[in-house]
Amino acid sequence: MTQRGETQSKAKSTDDSAAPGFSQPGANDVSGVQDDWVAQTLKTSPAISITTDILPSDSAMGIEAPPLPTEQLLEMYRGALTIRLMEESLLAAAEEGKIGGAMHTAIGHEANAIGAAFALRPGDYITCTYRGHHHGLAWGMDPGRAIAEVMGRADGFAKGKGGSMHFVSPEHGLMGANGIVGAQAPHAAGLALASWLRGEDRVAITFFGDGAFYQGVMHETFNIAAKWKLPLIFYCENNRYSEMTPIWRTSSIDDIYLFPRSYGMASMQIDGNDVEVVHAAVSQAAARARAGEGPTFIEGITYRLAGHMAGDLETYRPQAEIEMQKAYEPLTVLRQKLRARGVEETQIAAINEEVDESMDEAVAFAEGSPWPDPAEAYRDVYT
């Protein structure tokens, strides 16, 4: 049984001593890896693949990422760490058999959600995938109720009906995670349409994976959104795997971010592990959307440090690849940034402790939450 805080990514998240230094020379040298998986995986985006290549990571293609105030970075750190610790708690709970079904954690993806959430406004809309816990928390959902939902308890925001794959919280703008790859993209386009029809300045953002890119519904949605200049942001979290299949094995498209330009859409490829870069890109996209200039496509290069879903044995990628990526994962990058700004270790440690404690409380809340009344099973089919 795995101890809490010790996920498949092995490094305890509140302590990055196990990870190599932030810009350690040779870190993007993959020659030490026994097989060619890493090299082939990186082939998808040879020019600018991951933080490795685009360091220092405060800029991305066409993006000026001005430094955010340290206070905000600290908030972002708190947010990202909350996500990480919740995911680790959930993995542990899953191993104990407390969670069924398919649970996909976002360990390693945190910056995509946090950077975007801080760039958007209350009233904006978001849809995402089954890998959506990070979006839920980044947009303000309570971790206790989130865990309760994953565990199928009565205090879950959907009374335990939706579970891990269907995070939703309209009051926070989160209009639904989705279990069907690609299905949530047109929903965001519809939300953007509603905003446009009503003459509001709300923006919609939809998150999806690199694998989702090959679903037909994406193409349809790209075309309509571009044609109608909908206030919409397509955010692709490219972790270069689609379940157990590396993207290069099934994709004929070398650079995902170039593809949407065929629709006349603005698009960019960014370091999705750097909250400041993500924040800058999403801010720019949102400004375009609010100005009536239509949708923007953002490809955030990222990596999932844990398995595709709880229970994944990860036979399809070498440990060395995961180890290499740990140097560039969001929390490591964030801590490095904070230190570079002169934030004291004690301050970081204090946040770590606070988040750790509040996560304990959240877990306790969820585990203490009752099972829903069986009669609840028959409600909500219709309003």
Partner: protein, 328 residues
């Protein structure tokens, strides 16, 4: 009373509801500038403009999914599927998304959305443009299903459907489009409730539960049965398939003791089988002869006139089945 075609009745309902509520908008292929392949949305773009009558590319998955997104925040999209067969192209959005959204979100969201379009055989459109989908829609919980047979019902029901806070499939029939019937005055508030069947012909010998174009076929069949065989069928027009108004049907069966369900979707796992099963669950004591159903034969609806006539569960088959049942 004013007379109108079925198409005109729907067009009027759309116009009135769009005037009444600016959250209502239309979306689909050729619905705007052209006014719909079957001219059901004719002239609506003129009055409401391009923003409320949206011409889409041939991208059913996307525009159905977009309607769902818009409905999440209280817009009331009306999606036209040019042929209801294209339900299958957008099936994930319809059955995995729209139908489930309220439930999966534990009621945090509700989806006031209409999917409408024409279906059915009789005009030799063949396998991919003639299917009836009411049983398919009814199989999945979470979408109401309405299929009116007369202009009067079509107008009154569509207005109710647009105002309903749930997703509804509103199924028209290509053979009904140019039929004429009474119409309520255009400016009068005329609503027919969802989920209410109506007896369209009184009779004492046998209850035919049906809807949409089959209703007209059943009425013709009943006339023949009366004239030639002295059999008096009572005909219940379901109008709504989900939720089923079994109460009205059972009331009729209490009188006749016999139930025949007739529909144009496939018989196999169809709404007729469902009615038979419910009858034996709920009112077995009322049945004086085995309840029966008639639906589309298990073939993909051929183009040839000679073959299409053969497989459609229309007048001839209704008469034959009633005669069989009367012998039992």
């Amino acid at each position: 009373m004013r007379r109108t075609t079925y198409i005109q009745a729907i067009n009027e309902a759309l116009r009135e509801e769009m005037r009444r509520d600016e959250n209502v908008f239309l979306i689909g292929e050729d619905v705007g500038h052209y006014g719909g392949l079957f001219r059901v949305t004719r002239n609506l773009l003129d009055e409401f403009g391009e923003k409320r009558v949206l011409d889409t590319p041939i991208s059913e998955q996307a525009f159905v999914g977009m309607a769902l997104g818009a409905a999440m925040v209280g817009m009331r999209p009306i999606v036209e599927l040019m042929y209801m067969d294209f339900t299958l192209v957008a099936a994930d959005q319809i059955f995995n998304q729209i139908a489930k959204y309220a439930y999966m979100t534990g009621g945090l969201l509700n989806i006031p959305l209409v999917i409408r379009g024409q279906q059915g055989g009789g005009k030799r459109y063949g396998s991919q443009h003639s299917q009836s989908v009411e049983s398919l829609y009814a199989h999945f919980p979470g979408i109401k299903v309405v299929a009116p047979a007369t202009p009067y019902d079509a107008k009154g029901l569509l207005k109710s459907v647009i105002r309903d806070d749930n997703p509804v499939a509103f199924l028209e029939h290509k053979m009904l489009y140019f039929t004429r019937g009474d119409a309520p005055p255009p400016d009068e508030e005329h609503l027919i409730p969802i989920g209410k069947a109506e007896v369209k012909r009184e009779g004492s010998d046998l209850t035919i539960a049906t809807f949409s174009y089959c209703l007209l076929q059943a009425l013709e069949g009943a006339a023949t049965l009366h004239e030639k065989y002295g059999i008096d069928c009572e005909i219940v027009d379901l109008r709504t398939i989900e939720p089923l108004d079994t109460e009205t049907i059972w009331e009729s069966v209490a009188k006749t003791g016999r139930l025949l369900a007739v529909h144009e979707s496939y018989a196999m796992c169809g709404i007729g089988a469902e009615l038979v099963a419910r009858a034996y669950e709920e009112v077995p004591h009322l049945l004086r002869a085995p309840a029966r159903r008639v639906g589309m034969a298990p073939v993909s609806i051929p183009v040839s006139r000679a073959l299409e006539e053969e497989v459609l569960p229309w007048k001839e088959e209704i008469i034959a089945t009633v005669l069989e049942m009367e012998r039992e």
